[in-house]
């Protein structure tokens, strides 16, 4: 347990020390979202219609961008060898890193989403389901994204391959996150969508933890 | 002759049917040819390697 907390604490400290990776993922999220009004034009009505979609998709992309660093830095400086040889099972070490990743990206993006919603003229009723969906969906992203990041380690390839591997895994999360918003807007109940997101998270937990650990062991051989 | 041209015309849908069959043929034949050529190339490569390895060994 001590080792588990030590990993989370160290990853948070590394990210908040000097410039702060945390602030930076958020920066990417904010800047990418601000690009869209330039891309699709400033009409508030159109922006409002696509706002939830843009926020969700950008959250996915922001998470993807930060995945590559999740394990690569540890791989290159030899820390991963130590984690794999520590008394703590590698699966738990992976879980600790995923939790730190979520705190730094998923949680942060969730907290910022309402602000972005304001900028994009998101309909008022959509704020609740958007935030609830992100809160349940982003931990699944952190877990599943780990698989892609770990698989790519041995491959000596950068972020792009992670994107290709990881985005199909993200699709169901995206679909149900969006459908939660849509359902609320047309007056349907929200609960079933959140339940499905919860179920996806429950699937992502074992798949992500065991899949990433297996891929990491492979990368270290 | 006319039969052939009505056949080729495909009831006005020549632009749908022929490209579909064409692309399929190109992809599948391409894959087959590529696979066979890789096979024969590797056969030759292996033979060359093995004859090279024979001499210093025995």
């Amino acid at each position: 347990m001590n080792a588990f907390l030590a990993i989370i604490g160290r990853d948070l400290r590394l990210a908040t020390r000097r410039g702060g990776e945390a602030a930076l993922t958020l920066g990417f999220f904010v800047v990418a979202i601000t690009l869209f009004p330039f891309g699709v034009g400033p009409e508030p009505e159109l922006l409002g219609r696509i706002a939830a979609g843009i926020i969700w998709v950008t959250a996915l992309l922001a998470a993807t961008v930060s995945f590559d660093r999740l394990f690569r830095a540890d791989m290159e400086d030899g820390t991963l060898e130590l984690l794999a040889l520590a008394p703590l099972p590698l699966e738990l070490a992976v879980l600790a890193k995923a939790i730190a990743h979520w705190l730094l990206t998923g949680l942060a993006v969730t907290l910022l989403a309402p602000v972005m919603g304001l900028m994009l003229n998101l309909p008022e009723a959509a704020y609740g389901p958007l935030v609830a969906g992100l809160l349940l969906g982003t931990p699944a992203l952190s877990l599943l994204g780990g698989i892609g990041a770990a698989l790519v380690l041995g491959a000596r390839r950068g972020g792009a391959l992670v994107g290709l591997l990881v985005l199909p895994l993200f699709l169901p999360v995206l679909i149900f996150g969006i459908s939660a918003v849509e359902a609320t807007l047309i007056g349907l109940p929200l609960a079933p969508h959140l339940l499905i997101l919860g179920a996806l998270l429950a699937v992502a937990l074992p798949v992500g933890v065991f899949g990433s650990a297996a891929a990491l062991r492979l990368a270290l051989e | 002759m006319e039969a052939v041209s009505t056949f080729l015309d495909m009831g006005g849908y020549a632009a749908t049917v022929w490209p579909a069959y064409g692309v399929t043929a190109v992809i599948l034949v391409g894959l087959l040819v590529a696979s066979l050529r890789a096979l024969s190339r590797r056969k030759a490569e292996l033979a060359a390697l093995e004859s090279q390895m024979e001499r210093p060994r025995r």
């Binding site: 001590n2 080792a3 907390l5 030590a6 990993i7 160290r10 400290r13 590394l14 020390r17 000097r18 290159e76 400086d77 030899g78 820390t79 060898e81 130590l82 984690l83 794999a84 040889l85 520590a86 008394p87 703590l88 270290l220 051989e221 | -």
Partner: protein
Amino acid sequence: MTAATQPAGLVADHLRCERGGRLLFADLCFAVAPGGALLLTGPNGAGKTSLMRVLSGLLPARAGRILWQGRDTVEEPGPWRRALAWLGHDNAIKPQLSVAENLAFWSRLGASGHSVPEALEETGIGHLADLPAAMLSAGQRRRLALARLALTRGGCWLMDEPTVTLDSASLARLGTMIARHRADGGIAVIASHDALDLPGAQALDLGALDTARA
């Protein structure tokens, strides 16, 4: 020796390792008792690093077993993982953290018998404790990595070329450190091209095995 006797310490039993399709060694057997040391030598590419990785468990052996205190380290990794301290070619140092912070993290990650300041003193970098690790020179960095091993008490040290970039004073300190560890009942397996003063150590020349080539 055969594994039937199952002595305390580290035993390698008919190990075999292939890398990139090439056989590095086969039927490799040795036993190191508590307090003992094993010095691996051999030319570049002989397989020293590969053997260390096989022993640690990072690289699965193609055949054979590794026993720690009589137990198979693959089937029962727990005791081996707790006993093991690894020093690889890479130092696993985070440049953003200070020297003391790096070491404190490692000490929470594994079992440790010595405190962070003790370990820093033992490798002679106590005065650098608060410096960001990014500012260390190559040799200071290696000493910080060595301090990680100095945290542990007993157990088995696997050290891949520990002497790299060390100055002569640090070499002497390293010798003292290994002697202290062995006196505590610890084991050290060391791959090195430098002549290290290891009284009573066994030597294994991987270059002399018939399978190995330069």
